[in-house]
């Protein structure tokens, strides 16, 4: 059947695999597991002042596991100005920029800034989830997507999970209405909380995200983000829609 064939050809991505950088053997086993589960791309968060050795080590582990690697940075600014400063300093050093919004001002600034790829909100303090209609409207006009991490759904229990699912249901509906892309990622810090892409897609039924949207959030949306940023970071990029196709060497 064409639908199944299409599903099988999907390239899945986990843009938030929180591997411990200080423990290379655990990092290796987590990346290996991501590959076994069917992911083709992993985004690994790095500290803003990372070393080249850290990157080359992760790149080596990922190439051994036959999985693509994207560098990611998570900002947790306290003020919009702090966010702007961080973006100015580090945007060109990472393929993915995610902003964890702790205040409404930061959330609004992050949503309208085209340098921000991913908007994240607290999973424990639900009062700090600022993804409402206004935030969605701003995000839909920029390039940012709403990130939903799925490991917390596995980690939380009873009433805290119920409240999180309730918030996610409201936010997913808002994002779908405003056509803000959703990115699903694991946010896993341990192999124990890693699941295959189709299992994560099934988990999204708990907050009423349609299966087609869930699969898109695990494949097309993260890949589009990473490929767009790779183009922008390449030496051939000039401006949106303009890039160098060839260089004439001197006579």
């Amino acid at each position: 059947m064409p639908r199944n064939r299409d599903d099988n050809m999907k390239r899945f991505a986990d843009l938030h695999l929180r591997v411990p950088l200080e423990d290379p053997s655990k990092a290796e086993s987590m990346i290996q597991k991501a590959s076994e589960l069917g992911y083709n791309l992993v985004g690994i968060p790095l500290p803003p002042h990372h070393t080249r050795e850290e990157i080359s080590q992760l790149r080596h582990i990922c190439s051994e596991a036959k999985v693509d690697f994207a560098t990611r940075v998570n900002f947790s600014p306290r003020t919009p100005n702090e966010l702007l400063q961080s973006l100015r300093r580090f945007r060109r050093k990472f393929e993915i920029v995610a902003v964890r919004c702790h205040t409404k001002d930061v959330a609004r600034q992050a949503a309208k800034d085209r340098r921000v790829d991913i908007l994240q909100f607290s999973v424990t303090n639900l009062r700090k989830r600022f993804f409402d209609e206004a935030e969605a409207e701003l995000a839909s006009q920029a390039l940012s997507s709403l990130e939903i991490e799925l490991a917390p759904i596995l980690q939380l229990t009873s009433f805290s999970r119920v409240r999180l699912l309730s918030s996610l249901r409201r936010e997913a509906a808002t994002a779908e209405r405003a056509k803000v892309p959703i990115t699903l990622s694991s946010g896993a810090t341990d192999e124990h909380f890693m699941r295959g892409p189709r299992d994560y897609a099934a988990l999204t039924t708990l907050f009423d995200l349609p299966m087609s949207s869930a699969l898109r959030a695990l494949s097309e949306t993260p890949w589009v983000t990473v490929e767009r940023n790779r183009k922008k970071l390449s030496a051939d990029y000039v401006a949106p829609g303009i890039h160098v196709v060839g260089r004439k060497t001197g006579d």
Binding site: I153, L154, R195, R198, D199, A202, L203, T205, L206
Partner: protein, 98 residues
Amino acid sequence: MALEVVNEQTLNEQTVMDAVQASVHRLFGEYGASKANLKLTKTLPEKRQFVIRCSHKALEQVRAAIASTTAINGKNATIQVLGVSGTLKALSKKTRNI
């Protein structure tokens, strides 16, 4: 649905089935569990693999419940879905080693 249990303890099929049932019950309640219609079909305990059947209408709910299982008998465990199919024959083709 072919499943593989990843953990460090030895488990029998009834323990795994109980864990899946409990997870469906926890997430979807008695009404959801009654619609899932879960049954154990085949076991390969040496490979920690199990085949269960469920209503195709409740497939995504059962899959979500299986994915949300993080412990069996109070110890860390993960249940992975190896494959899903409508018949045992197609499932064995899909997953090869079942």
